[in-house]
Amino acid sequence: MKGILEKNWVKGLISLILTFGIVQVLISTNIINDYLQSTLATICINIILAVSLNLITGFTGQFSLGHAGFMSIGAYVCALITLNNRTIPGFILGVFAGAIVAAIVGFLVGLPTLRLKGDYLAIATLGMAEIIRIIFTNLDSITNGPAGLQDIPQFTNWPWLFLYTAGTIIIISNFIRSSHGRACISIREDEIASEAMGINSTKNKVTAFTIGAFFAGIAGALYASTFNFINPKIFDFSKSINILVIVVLGGLGSISGSVIAAIVLEIINTYLQSFADIQMILYSLLLVIIMIFRPQGLMGSKEISFSVFGKLSSLFAPKKGRV
């Protein structure tokens, strides 16, 4: 009984409940107003996108520039389902259907293209995302073409966003610690050597890609439900780049880095909104400067763990056993 507070999962659970509770209190006391709530939703969606792309690019080492494509699939599937079935079960069905369709497309695309290496894979995934976008633009009868879908029922609120975001982080970080995840990391480090050790690199790469696509689909579905309006232009090349920027700033191979970068960047964006003219200029300068001076990103491949808090508290706590 004494040791239960020392266990990592208990600490994790407590910090999750605390995060949820604090934000919920801030919302109910209206400190986080409607405007900031949309920022909050964007942060959650970006965390899901960045963590799932980090699994593909940061942990498995497969450079993908097409994450917005999977996001758009999730968004459109969820939007179409909730437009026809405006209920909570319809929303849940929409999110998971969107994620599953995105995962299937990810699997079908990943199987042939993941044989490619580095830049070639990047450009192939970019092409794939553009093709998805062009298909959505031209399927007038289903997707309403370039004008997009309007009046998508809004179901997302903080509890839903929190549930999906925390779920994504927990599932992906557990995947990375599983034997499959270790195999993915070994492929990133040296594909030939890991194959020599008996790791099926194609299978593991496709698995990581499919899981990444699945969660990108969830993020897209949440996007559609939060902003109740989507069109194909939202999911263009620059969206994929934005996701990649979060991953790289946070550090390739650091989940907590992705989370922190998603939060920090969105807060910067919110404050730069009033300087819309120079926002993109500052943003791009920031990108170049960070790459020149700290190319490994804010966190590198390190994770924030509870031992950091442990060390911090032991600095302040009185030494035990000498009282």
Binding site: Y120, N138, D277, M280, S284, L285
Partner: protein, 294 residues
């Protein structure tokens, strides 16, 4: 039949522009293995410089072309010195992100200075506005200018790469950077020179697209840039004749798809070709497969 020939002529004009941009991509990729995303913005700057020369300074086509090429060369070399050189020894992904950052930076600085609106090139006058009717096929003077300029520049480029000392150095560095350094080649100068050549060609492409399509805007580089990269990959990245063939191929395919099929799908077809090429023959049309060594 006449319609087909007409489409092919239009495709060749468009393909010339893609080929000029693709040459810059392929040379830079060949030498430092970087997809230079900022390249498409150098092309956009070329179009703006040409616009400025023609409307504000009232210069003719040829002086504007030369000024645009010179200024774009300077921009290209500056980008390389400021943004890419400090990252020579870092990971590929870091350099790629920097390239994306530089690209966004150029686009939005241009937008802040010149405004986000679409601008239109001055109409061509005199001999430049002539049309030729070849038995039902219409060839404009602009198309002839585009083709002529492209051919002259490509011959010049072939001469520089094949016959001069610096061209030899470029080929050596792209084969093996370390070995080239041991042979006494100044690798940094060679890389800068490669950027200079590529940027000059992109500047020329920019002004040619201006007189062909008449309208320019700060984000005009994105899609042609991606397609030119597809052209470079199609021909075999790093191989100069490959980029030319790829550029013309992509240009003609695109025009044929919009002429005979649905013009909304033309970009999709280009990217589908890219994925097919990458899956069937990743080294490109003229590329050789290289065995992986441990």
């Amino acid at each position: 039949m006449e319609q087909l020939l007409q489409q092919i002529i239009n495709g060749i004009s468009l393909g010339s522009i893609y080929a000029l941009i693709a040459l810059g991509y392929t040379m830079v990729y060949g030498i430092i293995k970087l997809i230079n995303f900022a390249h498409s913005d150098v092309y956009m700057l070329g179009a703006y410089i040409g616009y400025f020369c023609m409307t504000k300074l009232n210069l003719g086509f040829l002086p504007s072309l030369i000024i645009a090429m010179i200024l774009c060369t300077l921009v290209g070399v500056t980008i390389e010195k400021v943004a890419y050189k400090p990252l020579r020894n870092s990971t590929r992904i870091a350099v790629l992100i920097t390239a994306i950052g530089v690209s966004l930076f150029i686009e939005y600085v241009t937008m802040a200075i010149a405004g986000p609106n679409v601008r239109s090139y001055p109409p061509m006058t005199g001999i430049l506005a002539k049309n030729f009717d070849l038995g039902g096929i219409n060839v404009t003077m602009q198309q002839l200018i585009i083709l002529g300029t492209t051919i002259v520049l490509m011959i010049l480029l072939q001469f520089i790469v094949k016959k001069t000392r610096i061209g030899k150095a470029m080929r050596a560095v792209s084969l093996d950077q370390d070995a080239a350094m041991l042979m006494g080649i100044n690798v940094n100068t060679t890389i800068s020179f490669t950027f200079a050549l590529g940027s000059a060609l992109a500047g020329a492409a920019g002004i040619l697209v201006g007189i062909y399509y008449n309208s320019i805007n700060p984000l005009m580089g994105m899609l042609p840039g991606l397609k030119a990269f597809v052209a470079a990959v199609f021909g075999g990245i790093g191989i100069i004749p490959g980029a030319m063939i790829g550029g013309y191929f992509i240009g003609i395919i695109e025009v044929l798809v919009s002429g005979y099929g649905n013009s909304m799908y033309r970009d999709g077809v280009v990217f589908a070709i890219l994925i097919l090429v990458l899956i069937i023959k990743p080294a490109g049309l003229l590329g050789k497969n290289i065995r992986e060594k441990v």
